[in-house]
């Protein structure tokens, strides 16, 4: 359904666009119907940039993003695209215009996509979408954005995206402002929609909830993929040292960080990239030491075989 191939993004910054910042480099992965793919990685690693490119809010510098085989940068009918693909962003407040009541976002969807649905019927749909994210319509309808709490705004935006009966949801930290119990409710809702075919690109910092719903995980680091594969493989048997660091930093109940030093995961001694068995395929600069589980070279320091400051480029004959 959604496919990214060698996608890069270079931002031009500075007064005359003279400074270049490579936010995303050669990223490729897919999100299929009925699949939740989580995108994790450190702050500034390019997660939101990828989401914004998929939603056409940022241009793609190199590579292609296709949806059902069609290049999203060259899409003929953006309206038809947004009918199927919607995003909910990290910072819920920016999704609203402060001078209008917050529920105007629902009315705009009706006007844009369902002009023939009567107001009464629409209100019913809105109320059931709100119930799905555990909001009481009486407590949120008619209120201005500043009159709602962070988590209430965040859930209004999720409800808005779901009113459209979309096929792909780009969800950027959509549960960060919710309490644990409400997070679970929202994730169960996504899981139910997934079983009806919804694909989700799920950016999250909450790794325990990330594993709870996602089928596949893509770990980003400095704009590149460090590791990707089935979630239970990536978290169960992390190959890249960065993935291990991430997992070790997850705050746990009952265990304080300070007490965890000695039980740190023993790193693998064999680098799956360089010491792979002969014939193990390499795609781009990712090795595939087991089926569907890809990992990048960890770079100098972590990897004795790496010389270049960034990632080693495999030779042409290594590529498949």
């Amino acid at each position: 359904m959604l496919r990214l191939d060698g996608v890069s993004k270079i931002y031009r910054a500075g007064p005359f666009g003279g400074r270049e910042l490579r936010a995303v480099s050669g990223v490729g992965f897919e999100v299929n119907a009925g699949e939740v793919v989580s995108l994790i990685g450190e702050s500034g690693s390019g997660k939101s940039t990828i989401g914004r490119m998929v939603l056409r809010l940022a241009s793609v510098t190199e590579g292609t993003i296709t949806f059902d085989g069609e290049d999203v940068s060259a899409i003929r009918s953006p309206k038809a695209y947004y009918r199927q693909v919607q995003g909910v962003f990290q910072d819920p407040f920016s999704g609203f215009n402060p001078i209008f009541a917050a529920d105007r976002v629902f009315e705009m969807i009706r006007r844009e996509y369902f002009p023939r649905v009567s107001r009464a019927a629409w209100r019913e749909r809105v109320e059931s979408a709100l119930a799905g994210v555990r909001l009481d319509p009486g407590q949120v309808l008619g209120r201005y954005p500043h009159q709602l709490s962070g988590g209430q705004l965040q859930r209004m935006l999720i409800a808005r995206a779901l009113l459209l009966d979309i096929r792909l949801l780009v969800a950027d930290e959509i549960i960060s402002m919710l309490d644990a119990s409400t997070r679970v409710d929202v994730l169960n809702l996504l899981a139910d929609l997934r079983s009806r075919g919804l694909g989700v690109l799920f950016v999250t910092h909450d790794l325990s909830l990330g594993t709870y719903v996602s089928d596949r995980t893509v770990v980003l680091r400095r704009g590149r993929i460090a590791e990707m594969g089935p979630t239970e493989r990536v978290f169960g048997d992390p190959l890249h040292p960065y993935t291990r660091t991430l997992l070790d930093s997850v705050p746990r109940l009952h265990v304080k960080w300070a007490e965890r030093r000695d039980e740190e995961r023993a790193g693998r001694t064999v680098c799956p990239f360089h010491d792979r068995a002969p014939g193990t395929p390499v795609r781009g600069d990712l090795a595939e030491p087991e089926k569907d589980h890809h990992v990048a070279c960890a770079g100098p320091g972590a990897c004795p075989a790496a010389e270049e400051p960034e990632f080693r480029q495999p030779s042409a004959k290594e590529r498949v």
Partner: protein, 314 residues
């Protein structure tokens, strides 16, 4: 510096009536204490944070008092509060990362902010603090739009603590951060306290397992009131309030998969704060509710430093 909040009641005025966002909140934060504040979304955590600094025109102080080291804070009088803001009490609001002025580079914004308080930026100290949360000094030369969500959040956090407020209220400052940056921010907060730069702290967050790492105590809010406050270990291992118990048990461990084991949230929704029911606010959703719960349970101390508002716990 210690904070004592007694029966604080703050309402929002709306055309449909008053929203009782804080409806009798009582607690203390001791000198040097880091208190985590968790609870249901919409339960009044941010309202509590702002009430200690500034009530805007729509907020009404209905009753109760706030004292810093025994000195009453004039919370209802915004002008009189000026004297206390930033140095005595400082709040990092929940949306502050989207409130950065888009037309100013970060460095310029910091300089202007400090100038408005009659201070000049100490570049070396500023860079030291940026480094503590993993930000390079070049963020000072960038515009907010050129930073990622988590970078903005950390910038705001550094700026708001530059003047070393005695009491810092940090509202969801780690909500957009990956786990390693969370660890850096938590470490910085702890460092500020341990160096004596900030004396006490209230850290509002939904990430209980994170706040557990640095907090001495954790308070849990539900529908405009405190449900429970206790040492962090006690909240996590032996909570007494049914809401706290359900909240803690809905936190999954890494590795639990929906396909194998479906977790459940707490059924039902919290009551409306426009016209909240009498008695215990958790009654409709509480598996232990009984007749007595129609009466409001007192926020009573059940063990030293452990208070609970539940008839089953007293």
């Amino acid at each position: 510096m210690s904070l004592t909040v007694t029966d604080l009641r703050v309402h929002y005025r709306t055309p449909r009536g008053e929203v009782r966002a804080l409806d009798g909140v009582t607690f203390t934060v001791a000198d040097g204490e880091i208190m985590g504040l968790a609870g249901e979304s919409g339960s009044g955590k941010s309202t509590l944070g702002t009430s200690l600094v500034r009530l805007d025109g729509r907020m009404r102080h209905v009753g109760g008092t706030v004292e810093l080291d025994g000195v009453p804070l004039p919370v209802a009088d915004s002008a009189a509060m000026d004297r206390f803001r930033f140095r005595a009490v400082s709040v990092i609001p929940q949306y502050s990362m989207s409130a950065l002025n888009p037309t100013r580079k970060i460095g310029k914004m910091v300089a202007e902010l400090l100038a408005s308080r009659g201070e000049r930026p100490d570049r070396a100290e500023l860079e030291r603090r940026l480094a503590l949360v993993g930000l390079p000094p070049d963020v000072l030369g960038r515009y907010p739009i050129e930073l990622s969500g988590g970078m903005k959040q950390r910038v705001v956090m550094v700026v708001s603590t530059l003047l070393n407020p005695s009491l810092l209220i940090a509202d969801e400052v780690t909500s957009a951060l990956d786990v390693s940056s969370q660890k850096a921010v938590a470490g910085m907060l702890l460092g500020l306290r341990d160096e004596g730069l900030v004396t006490s702290m209230i850290m509002v967050t939904h990430d209980i397992s994170l706040v557990y790492q640095i907090a001495d105590t954790i308070a849990v809010m539900y529908a405009g009131r405190l449900a429970e406050k206790a040492p962090a270990d006690v909240i996590v291992t032996a909570p007494r309030h049914p809401y706290t118990r359900l909240l803690i048990s809905s936190l999954p461990e890494v590795g639990v998969r929906q396909a194998e084991r479906r977790l459940d949230g707490i059924p039902g929704t919290p009551p409306s704060l426009l016209d909240p029911p009498e008695g215990c606010r958790f009654r409709d959703r509480c598996p232990l509710a009984f007749d007595r719960c129609a009466e409001r349970p007192p926020f009573a101390e059940v063990a030293p430093g452990h208070s609970v508002a539940c008839w089953k716990a007293v």
